[in-house]
């Protein structure tokens, strides 16, 4: 366990050191929030939509955007390992490669913290505060952690798919990220009922929609009977997919003789 924590520590320190490099990401994050604020102010004009007021929607979007920007392009780091054959070197070392990827991903946390601070400040300035009780906060935090783990496994799967896709891995990410982003633009509640039921099974839905919905429309019933079971299911699916991609990928690496 100690060696994996060391990976997380070095990844954390590296991101802390290079925080200035992420200035473009922070600017982009604020721009998106500004545009969404303008868009929903224009669309709603004091009304609400599918039970979401302007305030609800803004906090929903802020949390959704924070999640979207977390592990920003981490899949690229992994696909670069595939491209320059570092993956073959890593796999020959006495540690579990998948766990290394997970802990290195966790090490990108400083960026998420900065995004959260920016997002909260933006939210308070534009729509005011949101009140959450302690137990509610714990439930939202659990949902958030599971969402981040799902997002991390999605990044790992997309990054490792570079073994088969090569440079086209960016195209795969474009589609996967759009399946997440669509829930930042549009809460699931706006979709037709039948589509909502199908989309709930998608891991991408559980990354953005579930924790964001919980933040603005919290109820214990929603958390325990809907969000938590679906998120656990999505995480399980992604872990299984990760395992198979890794297993099949190793064979492919041998075939290439890397």
């Amino acid at each position: 366990m100690k060696k994996y924590l060391t990976f997380a520590k070095y990844s954390f320190l590296e991101h802390l050191h290079n925080l200035n490099d992420n200035i473009g990401i922070f600017i982009s994050f604020v721009i998106h929030l500004f545009v969404f604020n303008s868009l929903w102010s224009f669309v709603l004009q004091g009304k609400d939509i599918a039970g979401f007021t302007k305030e609800n929607l803004m906090w929903y979007i802020i949390l959704g955007e924070i999640l979207t920007y977390s592990f920003h392009h981490y899949y690229k780091t992994i696909s670069a390992k595939v491209k320059n054959s570092d993956i073959a070197y890593d796999k020959s070392k006495p540690y579990n490669f998948m766990l290394r990827l997970i802990f290195e991903g966790v090490g990108t946390f400083p960026k998420t913290v900065v995004l959260t601070i920016i997002g909260v400040v933006f939210g308070i300035i534009t729509v005011g505060t949101i009140s959450i009780g302690f137990l509610q906060f714990v439930c939202i935090f659990i949902s958030l952690v599971i969402a981040l783990l799902i997002l991390l496994t999605i990044n790992i799967v997309v990054g490792l798919s570079g073994i088969w896709l090569g440079d086209d891995v960016s195209s795969l990410w474009l589609i996967v990220s759009k399946f997440m982003l669509v829930f930042v633009f549009t809460p699931l509640d706006l979709f037709p009922k039948i589509v909502q039921k199908i989309l709930m099974f998608f891991p991408t839905t559980q990354v953005i929609y579930s924790p964001s919905k919980l933040l603005v429309h919290f109820s214990y019933d929603l958390f325990f009977r809907t969000i938590l079971p679906y998120q656990i299911l999505a995480l399980t699916i992604m872990i299984v997919v990760c395992y198979f991609v890794n297993m099949k990928g190793v064979k492919k690496l041998n075939a290439y003789g890397i």
Binding site: D21, I23, G24, I25, I27, S28, I31, H32, F34, V35, S38, L39, S41, F42, V43, Q45, I49, A50, L165, G166, D167, D168, S171, L172, L174, I175, K178, L181, V182, F185, T186, L190, F191
Partner: protein, 269 residues
């Protein structure tokens, strides 16, 4: 005058030849070309889906904005963006080309080095943008063939304006050094975001940005009004702005070139 005209024709031919080779190179990996084109197409469609859902909730009209406005918004600017990056894909790596001293390669060519650097490669996914914009444009103009041709012509002009804006931001690297990340954020996040939403959603500050620092108004909203209402006055303004930006881009490049440090590269092309 005749010499100038010949020069323009010669450059048009040169761009055509570069494009031909870029397309040939793109087709050497057909699978990649198809995947990137299709994914960009799907990516754009997701936004249309978002608006369709929103209009369904609001009985087809949101404070004066309707689906036709969105169709225009996702056809003309998308075509112009696609044209700029498919024909002049080198703009995306212009900062790296300059700061790494790779401009040497283009300085030795008989044509203008900026044009050579810009046409050095194409962005494959931009083809998905062009196809998507052209398809959506048919519905935006309601199958009116003359308006459709006009839309394409205006999109080409808007494409030149877009390219100039992307170039100007990147050419600042002559003075500021490695601004690749900031320039990418500007063009792919800031500029693009202001391009794909209706002008009316933005208030005072947003509008100020659109007319100044992020001049999406000249590449998107004015061109759309020109096609929709055949506004000749606006067309004159857009043409004037395009010309000014074009001249400014080349002036900035020539001025920046004096600060350029060679990479002592000996690559032949």
């Amino acid at each position: 005058m005749r010499t100038e005209f010949r020069k323009i024709i010669s450059y048009a031919k040169y761009i055509g030849i570069c494009l031909k080779y870029n397309i040939k190179s793109s087709f050497s990996n057909k699978k990649s070309f198809i995947i990137q084109t299709l994914t960009m197409f799907l990516n754009n469609f997701m936004f249309i889906l978002f608006w369709m859902i929103l209009f369904k909730q609001n009985n087809g009209n949101i404070n004066g904005v309707n689906m036709n406005d969105i169709l225009y918004l996702w056809s003309l600017p998308v075509i112009s963006f696609g044209i700029a990056l498919f024909l002049f894909g080198g703009v995306e790596s212009l900062v790296y080309t300059i700061i790494n001293g790779d401009l040497d390669l283009y300085l030795t060519l008989p044509k203008h080095s900026l044009i050579s650097a810009l046409t050095s490669h194409s962005r494959l996914s931009a083809m998905g943008d062009i196809i998507f914009g052209l398809l959506l444009g048919v519905f935006a103009v309601n199958f009116n063939i003359f308006q459709y041709i006009f839309l394409i012509i205006i999109a080409i002009i808007a494409g030149i304006t877009t390219l100039c804006i992307f170039c100007i931001v990147r050419l600042l690297c002559f003075w500021l050094g490695d601004i690749s990340k900031v320039s990418d954020t500007y063009s792919l996040s800031l500029f693009l975001t202001f391009t794909i939403y209706p002008e009316s959603i933005f208030g005072g500050f947003g509008k100020f940005l659109m007319y100044t620092i992020v001049p999406a108004i000249y590449t998107t909203h004015f061109p759309i009004r020109i096609v929709k209402f055949l506004d000749i006055k606006l067309l004159a303004i857009v043409l004037f702005i395009t010309l000014i930006l074009l001249v400014f881009t080349f002036c900035l490049y020539n001025k920046g070139l004096k600060r350029y440090e060679s990479g002592s590269s000996n690559i032949a092309r």
